[in-house]
């Protein structure tokens, strides 16, 4: 009995690490730029396709293609901030919500046109390997993904708390106007925030590739998960998003185990609705 529960919890934690990379990106963009990125999942999808094509064409291991997908998506993030998001930063909600929403629709449907709806997988030497510890089953690819995800999250935390640029980003998140008065260039800080957030999404894509299929709609579930995690973990809070993501991974996994194979998302939505009903400001702070 306990083994089934423990196994479900482990599965949930491992995938929760990937959710964390996506939600930390969403919460970083929200915290610094005050925009909700509806397209975050689509950048995970792009990361996956980058790794798929590098593996398929050049035989590069998906974990190594991290070093391609992350810089490429960082650059994409900077460009998107500079040419698109910068133009809609204002008091009006509508353009802000629907710009990234349009971007999500665009990327998804472009992928559908270019790559078709087929599922793409990459098989690596460690795709089927697993550790067996005390009767529990721990797949190597998922474990690597989890460890790298936690490392990247930690690296981001260190960056935000020790470097000048990181401190400038946190300052801009706390109070944009005062930060500008202190000589912080908001567009530069916003560009870096978008770049880092998208690079994390790209990393999530590459880490997923050894054990997950790439297809145009793959990002949607990650965006939804990230939104739930970000609302639960109180918006703009990196640690909150991390913990909430791991919880959601576990909740989803327990849902699959005890409610039914197709019920993981129901449990996640139920969590979101319960959070909204009883703690609309998130588990830690104010919603807005």
């Amino acid at each position: 009995m306990w083994e089934t529960v423990a196994q479900a919890v482990i599965n949930g934690l491992l995938i929760g690490g990937i959710y964390a990379l996506v939600s930390i990106g969403v919460t970083l963009i929200f915290g610094v730029v005050k925009i909700v990125n509806f397209a975050q999942g689509e950048f995970v999808m792009i990361g996956m396709y980058i790794s798929f094509f590098l593996a398929n064409q050049f035989g590069i291991d998906p974990l190594l293609s991290l070093f391609v997908s992350m810089p490429v998506l960082f650059l994409v993030g900077v460009l998107i901030q500079h040419f698109l998001i910068r133009r809609v930063l204002g008091p009006n909600d509508m353009p802000q919500i629907f710009l990234t929403f349009a971007l999500s629709l665009l990327l998804l449907n472009l992928a559908l046109m270019l790559f078709t709806a087929n599922y793409r997988t990459v098989h690596t030497s460690y795709s089927d390997e697993a550790f067996h510890v005390a009767g529990l089953y721990i797949p190597v690819a998922k474990l690597i993904a989890f460890v790298v995800a936690m490392f990247l999250s930690g690296a981001l935390w260190v960056f935000l708390h020790t470097t000048d640029l990181g401190k400038a980003m946190r300052a801009a998140a706390q109070n944009r106007d005062v930060a500008m008065l202190m000589g912080i260039n908001p567009n530069r800080v916003f560009c870096v925030a978008l770049g880092i957030a998208l690079a994390l999404a790209g990393a999530a894509g590459s880490l997923l590739m050894p054990f997950y299929s790439a297809y145009p709609f793959v990002g949607q579930v990650f965006t939804l998960m990230a939104f739930v995690a970000v609302v639960m973990g109180s918006l703009g809070n990196v640690i909150g998003a991390l913990i909430a993501s791991l919880l959601m991974g576990v909740a989803e996994s327990l849902g699959i185990q005890y409610v039914g194979a197709d019920s993981g998302l129901i449990v996640v939505f139920a969590l979101l609705l319960l959070t909204l009903a009883f703690k609309p400001t998130g588990l830690g702070g104010k919603a807005r």
């Binding site: 809609v88 629907f98 939804l224 197709d262 609705l273 909204l276």
Partner: protein, 330 residues
């Protein structure tokens, strides 16, 4: 030109427009064309329902598929399990959707801006999952076909497409009439005030939670009517059709492209988007997936970046430029 002159001209234009849309199925008999007209009227109506809340009060929902689906399922269950006419089922569906909007609104209105939008997406998706999962409730994932009774106007089944055209035309007329009435009422002013700045509106005494609840109720009721109509028109229902995220997207999209918070915005937006989509399909064929939404998203982006007031705003500017340059007449 006097205000009365503009008024008279508007009424004449409206009368001509009404005559044209009523005569259209008599002149155009190709069922392919009428099918496109029906789509245009249907999405204009859904957009109009969305626009009441999303446009005037700026409560940007992306979960209106919830009410579309509830309307569709209510009337279909009443028809198949109890033999009740979809005309009655349509009203019942509207009532169910309106009632459902109360708890959903209670949850979602706790959040503002983008979080409200996310919460509405989640509620619509959750409803779809419930209908997929619980087979006893309503046929589960398989869905069901609506029994075809041939010509049975009392059961909302017609032999000609033209009849469906007039039904959905009636729905759109209802939606526009309600919007027109609300625009001119106190509620309309309250809605715009909430849309501009909710805190300021509350500070001058607008009961924002109540107004938002009421407009969500009306918007949900109308969206549910569209759901019943659509399912009766295609003779099939399953959760991904009834609760399709595309319904939620298109409701918002046509309103934004046409002109958010304007009476005719959703209609103009739908005409533009559906015409573009039809032209694309006849040009490229429907073989390549994703073309339609790629183009829609590009149009949406262009509108957001360059013309946030949509086509209505563009037309108003063009009219003002024309009126200013025109030599003044007595």
């Amino acid at each position: 030109m006097t205000t009365q002159g503009i008024h008279a001209r508007g009424l004449i234009l409206l009368a001509i427009g009404i005559a044209v849309v009523i005569a259209l199925p008599l002149v155009v008999t190709s069922s392919f064309a009428i099918d496109i007209f029906i789509r245009i009227l249907l999405f204009s109506f859904i957009g109009t329902a969305w626009n009441l809340m999303g446009g005037y009060a700026k409560q940007l929902s992306l979960g209106h598929a919830a009410y579309f689906g509830l309307g569709a399922y209510t009337s279909t269950i009443l028809q198949i399990d109890f033999g009740i006419s979809p005309w009655i089922g349509m009203i019942a569906g509207g009532v169910v959707a309106a009632l459902a909007s109360l708890p959903i609104g209670w949850l979602c209105f706790r959040l503002r801006g983008p979080y409200f939008t996310i919460a509405t997406i989640a509620t619509a998706q959750a409803l779809m999952l419930i209908f997929l999962k619980f087979r006893d409730l309503a046929w589960g994932a398989e869905g069901t076909t609506i029994p075809n009774l041939g010509s049975a106007p009392l059961m909302m089944q017609f032999e000609t497409k033209a009849a469906y055209y007039y039904v959905v035309l009636g729905l759109l007329a209802l939606g526009l009439a309600i919007t027109w009435a609300i625009e001119r009422s106190w509620m309309g002013y309250y809605l715009v005030a909430i849309g501009e700045d909710e805190d300021a509106a509350e500070a001058i005494g607008v009961n924002a939670p109540k107004i938002k609840r009421d407009i969500y109720l009306i918007s949900s009721f109308l969206t549910a009517l569209a759901g019943t109509f659509y399912i009766q028109y295609i003779y099939f229902i399953d959760p991904p059709t009834a609760f399709s995220f595309n319904i939620s997207i298109e409701a918002a999209l046509v309103s934004i492209v046409g002109g958010i918070g304007t009476l005719w915005g959703p209609v103009i937006g739908t005409v533009l988007l559906e015409t573009t989509s039809t032209l694309l399909q006849s040009w490229l064929g429907s073989s390549i997936g994703g073309v339609q939404l790629t183009v829609y998203s590009l149009i949406l982006m262009a509108v957001i970046l360059w013309r946030p007031t949509g086509l209505m705003g563009m037309m108003r500017e063009a009219w003002q430029r024309y009126a200013k340059n025109k030599p003044a007449r007595a």
